[in-house]
């Protein structure tokens, strides 16, 4: 090591070029464990098998059945898959105390947060989206259902990944608490009525699906624009909050 020759801070940008990509690659590798991929992959395979079984039944209205099938996936498979990956994106680093190696760098807190979110979306979109779209093809195969599935699942993955990225850094034992949120809040409380459904992402994503297929779903009362905008706004707010939490949190 030579004697310290420190550059003037003003000569360097506040976020070094390549920092986002470097953290993104690191977190992508951290997230893509065999266990997680196998677990969520197995859920995807099960979803497709179930879709094949439903599709081979003599359905009176395949589009309606297919829409309801995809709605089921939006209720459980999509949020659980997003939870598993997104909550771990920064949550794992909190748990094993390696967050310090990112935190103690001259980076705005938004850089690791956005990299974590991007890494989670990168894994979840193919791992969750592809089985869901294939399932839509297996049940009905109509362009409306395939487009509606792609759109609603895409929006759901992005929104849930943002929510659970924040969740992972804000809440200890994010996985069980996240499952409780999905099952109790998104699945139960938010289904209680029109007002309660407004505070659940599921109501917006199923509205997107319903709008695309023209099949009415319970509590799917929002327009396509609302169904798209609200989850995105929620996602952005969660990422902003996660950035604030990361900036202020005590690092082990």
């Amino acid at each position: 090591m030579s004697a310290p020759t420190l550059p003037s801070p003003a000569r360097r940008p506040s976020s070094p070029p390549g920092a986002f990509v470097a953290i993104y690659k690191l977190l992508l590798r951290n997230l893509a464990t065999r266990g997680r991929i196998a677990g969520i992959g197995a859920l995807g395979v099960l979803t497709m098998i179930a879709a094949a079984v439903v599709g081979n039944a003599h359905l009176i209205d395949p589009l309606r059945s297919g829409t309801r099938f995809v709605d089921g996936g939006l209720t459980i498979f999509v949020p659980v898959g997003a939870l598993v990956f997104a909550s771990a994106a920064l949550g794992d680093l909190v748990d094993d105390s390696t967050l310090v190696y990112l935190w103690l760098r001259p980076l705005p807190a938004r850089v690791p947060v956005l990299a974590a979110f991007a890494a989670a979306v990168t894994i979840c979109l193919p791992l969750i989206g592809v089985p869901m779209v294939i399932s839509a093809v297996l049940v009905d195969g109509s362009p409306e259902l395939i487009a509606g599935t792609a759109e609603s699942v895409g929006v759901a993955v992005v929104a849930y990944c943002a929510v659970f990225t924040m969740w992972g850094i804000r809440i200890r034992r994010a996985l069980p608490w996240g499952l409780a949120y999905i099952l109790l809040w998104e699945g139960f409380v938010a289904s209680a009525g029109q007002t309660a459904s407004k505070v659940a992402l599921r109501a917006y994503t199923r509205s997107l699906l319903s709008e695309a297929t023209g099949v009415g779903l319970r509590l799917a009362t929002f327009t396509a624009a609302t169904g798209l905008i609200v989850p995105m706004v929620v996602g952005v707010l969660c990422l902003v909050y996660a950035t604030r939490v990361l900036r202020r949190t005590d690092i082990a």
């Binding site: 420190l6 390549g18 760098r105 980076l107």
Partner: protein
């Protein structure tokens, strides 16, 4: 380079650090304290990993908690073993270099790994490394960006004696280059070789700061203990007992006298005179309790 002013930190009802003030300049400073004394909390605050509940900390004139720019100038070796297990050493250190915006991260990482005597071309994952090798990787990521302030929390843990020696020499070199090096360690023998400047934390409070030998001299309430080897211990002991400043004399064995004195400088002059008077030959005069270990024990109240 580091200024802590009336810093306190508590976690719920637990007061981890209480009203601590100190300044640390260039060179190596050892942060000492028993387990749970608050050393790691102090180090974390110095790096901005946690903010003080009260008081202020300035590193190079800036608040390390909020000032991103000052983080370019701090290198930290954290205590925890966790690293990015799936990476190899070069990837881990290169990541640090990239995040610091170094112009040639790969070259900087190779250089830093070389400094800690690790092979940059070792393809193994860090998860396969021994504790000592991990420790050296952690040191490499802390120095890759050539920081002005280096904070090391128990950096010698897991290192074999040769590696410890190498690390101690490395830290001394950093200090000699004008960097501010703060090292916490419980291996007092090694710490003593960093240099003589210490910060002692006990029960969350600053027990002492400065050169530990000077600190020892200021401990008027603790008699200095000195061992004298001679061929006529009884006669020497008798002669010394009559002198002022000698608080106690003990015949340890057939050739050794242990003396407690409140005036070390006076004693050093007196012992030769008394030896001549009683016709004793002095073979050794050794202070027993002005080493770091003794000073540390006095300060933290350990027996």
């Amino acid at each position: 380079m580091i200024v802590a002013d009336d810093v306190s930190k508590w976690f719920g009802d637990l007061v981890a650090v209480s009203e601590v003030s100190f300044e640390v300049g260039p060179g190596v400073t050892a942060l000492l304290g028993p387990n749970g004394a608050g050393k790691s909390t102090v180090l974390r605050m110095l790096c901005g990993l946690t903010g003080p509940a009260r008081g202020t900390i300035r590193v190079l004139g800036a608040d390390p908690r909020t000032d991103l720019e000052v983080r370019r100038r701090i290198g930290l070796v954290p205590q925890q073993e966790g690293v990015f297990e799936a990476q190899d050493a070069l990837g881990f250190v290169e990541l640090a270099a990239v995040l610091h915006g170094l112009p040639d991260p790969a070259a900087a990482a190779r250089h830093a790994l070389g400094v800690v005597e690790l092979d940059p071309d070792d393809p193994r994952r860090i998860s396969t490394y021994s504790k000592g090798m991990r420790q050296r990787v952690k040191v490499a990521q802390a120095i890759v960006h050539d920081p002005a302030v280096i904070v090391l929390d128990e950096p010698l843990t897991g290192l074999d004696p040769r590696q410890r020696l190498h690390m101690v020499e490395l830290f001394q070199r950093f200090g000699a280059e004008g960097r501010c090096v703060v090292v916490s360690s419980h291996v007092l023998d090694e710490v003593e070789r960093f240099g003589s400047r210490v910060l002692v934390i006990a029960q969350g409070r600053l027990a002492a700061v400065g050169d530990f030998r000077a600190i020892r001299d200021l401990m008027d309430d603790r008699p200095h203990r000195i061992r004298v080897r001679t061929d006529r211990p009884r006669e020497l002991a008798g002669g010394l007992l009559e002198r002022s400043g000698v608080l106690g004399v003990q015949l340890a064995d057939a050739s050794t006298v242990i003396i407690d004195t409140s005036e070390v400088a006076t004693f050093r002059a007196t012992v030769a005179v008394v030896a001549r008077e009683v016709d004793a030959r002095l073979r050794e005069v050794v202070p027993l309790d002005d080493d770091l270990d003794s000073v540390f024990r006095y300060l933290v109240g350990q027996p």
